[in-house]
Amino acid sequence: MILSFVLKKDNLFFSPPDYFPKTVYNFEQNPLDSNKIELGRILFYDPILSKDNTISCASCHSPFNAFAHTDHDLSHGIFDSIGNRNAPALFNLAWQKTFMWDGAINHLDMQALAPISHPSEMGSNINEVIKKLNESKAYKKLFLNAFQDSTISTSKILKALSQFQLTLVSSNTKYDKVKMGKETFTEQEKNGYQLYKNNCASCHSEPFFSNYNFENNGLPIDQTLNDMGRYVITQNENDKRKFKVPSLRNLSFTYPYMHDGRFMTLKEVINHYTSGIEYSETLSLQFNESIELSSNEKVDLISFLLTLNDKDFVFNKKHQFKKIADQAKE
């Protein structure tokens, strides 16, 4: 009874299609609430989270790029410092067990602590953030509205940020509409879908177009970064050069591609899979058989991949910038 009530309430803000599986995120620990979502949204766009008030979450996770960072192979933070990975897109986070390219973060609630504290991202720390937020009457009011308590704490900040990010669901692509019987694929897209199923689906599996596992997709190591991916976290030799499989949804909005943003175009990505795979001990078994695609097939595959763009998601006003003053006039 209680559970069905909770789910029903969540549906107001969170209503994925029924072919999406059960979420990994436990909404019972942090039930969605409009005030909390709005607070999370304001925090997401507020540079107050960074040491010198210059960088917000949205600086590297822009709504118009499906919350990725277009034009930057590697993301940059305060003092124009440059990180060592490409900012990943943010959507369908409720179904993900780990976060970051190497899975360093084990829970959505804990995710924001990493960029807040990272010296080349926001360069701050949670205590500093709490102190700054506490000095703002407007924020005190927002926290009071959201949590019935104006005491600002780590838990409240992180839960609000999670709430906003949980509402970032991408499920209205042409692919989704076809799946729901509302639209049909063109012949070219149909052909591309089949090519996708034969060559890409074992890692980029439906409906998220990622299995959210860690794989080595045969990228030659960039000697300037020497990034060993998942191995950095687990120290397990078998994890060397493995990175979290990114979703193929919203591809047109999230270039450049790969963990280090080395490819600018989808064509480069596909050419990597057909002719650029580098063998190493941990290479995913899927590449034991090489991927062969004619140039026509590549075009067909791309036409299918473009059906995974979700314009409704990318241009959803509810996900866009909101200034604190708009919300809470003193």
């Binding site: 973060i105 829970h107 804990m110 602590l113 949670i126 704490s153 838990s155």
Partner: protein, 219 residues
């Protein structure tokens, strides 16, 4: 009449006192003394001081004649050498016990269950932000044997998943007073070699293996 009332009140006070809620005191010590932060200790052939000591005690369970009589309601308790109030774990009820069992550190389930408040708040400085997970045990200071800059050593011992699980369990016969004998770590660990441990790895596991020897019943 007044006297009887007074006597009665005294008796009641005495009653509640003897029925007082159970508490366990964890006292950080260095050799025979209570630990004093930033005090210079001359220990064996080393000159050292401790500037920071924090550790988690979790899943505290009380036994009497080898059967469980109480499990602490508090999931995890943070001991912090800067705050002597943190040395005491209070239970809200009275019961008799002769043995306790607890974990040093935060268990894996808690580590993967998102954000918590109070002692488990990441703002306490016992959480790794770049790689999810609690620091189970933190000891910092200087040692004349430590080759690092300004002789500083950092032991941030954490890691919740194999092979780098640093959670350790302790069982102790006790009446409620436990000492944490920090000097023993310096006996067990070659500080000239292991002086900077700040992520889950083999060295962290080796240090975690010594934790059980630090916790003793105070006589």
């Amino acid at each position: 009449m007044k006297q009887y009332v007074l006597f009665g009140m005294l008796f009641m006070t005495f009653q509640t006192h003897s029925q007082n809620a159970v508490k366990i005191t964890f006292l950080p010590k260095f050799e025979r003394e209570n630990l004093t932060l930033n005090k210079v200790y001359y220990f064996k052939n080393d000159t050292l001081n401790i500037s920071n000591f924090k550790c988690y005690i979790s899943n505290l369970t009380y036994y009497k004649n080898d059967s469980i009589v109480h499990s602490s309601i508090k999931k995890a308790h943070l001991i912090d050498a800067t705050d002597s109030r943190s040395f005491i774990i209070m239970e809200n009820e009275f019961f008799k016990f002769d043995k306790i069992r607890f974990n040093i550190g935060v268990d894996s389930l808690t580590n993967v269950s998102g954000i918590f408040e109070g002692d488990l708040d990441p703002a306490n400085g016992m959480y790794w932000t770049w790689q999810s997970g609690y620091i189970n045990f933190k000891l910092e200071g200087t040692s004349s044997l430590c080759p690092a800059r300004k002789n500083k050593f950092y032991w941030h011992i954490g890691g919740y998943s194999p092979p780098y699980n640093t959670l350790r369990q302790v069982s102790l016969k006790t009446n409620g007073k436990v000492s944490i004998q920090l000097d023993k770590l310096f006996e067990e660990i070659e500080i000239s070699e292991e002086y900077q441990i700040m992520s889950p790895n083999d060295n962290a596991v080796q240090i975690a293996d010594k934790f059980v020897f630090l916790f003793n019943t105070t006589r």
